[in-house]
Amino acid sequence: MKMEDLPGSGLENSKLEAVAHEIYAELVEDACLGLCFEVHRAVKCGYFFLDDTDPDSTKDFGGGGQGSGGQGTWGQGFGDWGHRNGALQDTDRALGTGGHKERALGTKGHSFGAWGHRGGALGTRRHEDGALGTRGSGFGAWDGAPGMGLWGTQGQGFGDWGHGDRALRDTDRALGSGGHKERVLGTRGHAFGVLGGPPTSHPPLSPQQCGVISEHTKKMCTRSLRCPQHTDEQRRAVRVYLLGPSASLPESEAGADADGFDVAESQALMSRLQWDGASDISPSDSASSKASECVWGGTNNSESRKTKKKKPHLGLVSGGGAPPGLGSSKKKKPKPPPPHPPSIYDDIN
């Protein structure tokens, strides 16, 4: 039937009116349905009641991302990644609202891009007392005081790492030993260029921990200071590099050794064995002992060994003498070479 066939002039008004009303009713129903879907979606997504938020309370909770520290991590004011009432808050992807006045993530002016792009999901959990943890893809969350370092120091206004409470237990990688007053991998300012790779691969260096960084796994040795796989030199190198030239190995560990195992002797033995070309490579951590400087310092394996042999402290001090971020931030970190076999040792010998 064509429109032309419609009895336009002859159609009774009532019929025309009925059709018009019908169309109108459909339109209104459409509008209602649209509203219902919209509301339902808002409810399920959790933002339906956002309008009811009291602006004062929002301000009180530091909403809008402008906490006392200014901008958030990415300069976008993500707000405080925490929660005030002590309950841990999951902020998987939602940009957190409420929470501490401090900025959970980020420092003023310094880019945490490397951290920020890993994984995408930020999932930070935060406890009221400042303990930070990560979830999901696991970021190190930290309290950033403006211009402060990476894995903070309490003395420099960095976040308290944990205090050993629940939040710490939530971390994928134990983010630091809570409550330590001393510097925990504290580097100043712009350390991220130096770290290059994802810093999350290096948990904070505990004083009781070996800490030598594996070349392959890029992880720190988590054994104790008596770890037979690495030498004191290597441990010292890592500490000097990361903590500055004044850093030293804690002495107490060796002294507190109660099992009769002579650390000094064993270290000497190990070191002799290494220099002799005997394999220090264990199946589990094949080149960790060789890798400590390579990962962050930008020297390769053979270089570090040569440096060690000639001037045992030169490389270490130069690696850590300057603020770690500045000295070598411009250097590109070469990828650690694959474990070489005997040719290197032949050269050295």
């Binding site: 159609l11 025309l16 169309i23």
Partner: protein, 96 residues
């Protein structure tokens, strides 16, 4: 199909083809927002949600509660204006 149904189908088709239906929808939506109809219904939605529970409320619940109220809350002025536009459309196309 009887003649009436045929006629309705033809009118609907013409409404869609010419884009008039979309235009009418947009007009209605704008008018409803302007007059506060949407806010009123949202407030009612909140009551429904609180009553049913945030986790348990479904689209069907909302539609069942909201649609009758939505129809009733449309202001007369909006209704008249819309009906007038529909009539005009019908008249135009009936006279072709």
């Amino acid at each position: 199909m009887n003649k009436d149904a045929q006629m309705r189908a033809t009118i609907n088709q013409k409404l869609i083809e010419t884009g008039e239906r979309e235009r009418l929808k947009d007009l209605l939506r704008a008018k409803l927002i302007e007059c506060g109809w949407k806010d009123q219904l949202k407030a009612h939605c909140k009551d429904v949600i609180k009553e049913k529970g945030l986790e348990h409320v479904t689209v069907d619940d909302l539609v069942a509660e909201i649609t009758p109220k939505g129809r009733a809350l449309v202001p007369d002025s909006v209704k008249k204006e819309l009906l007038q536009r529909i009539r005009t459309f019908l008249a135009q196309h009936a006279n072709l």
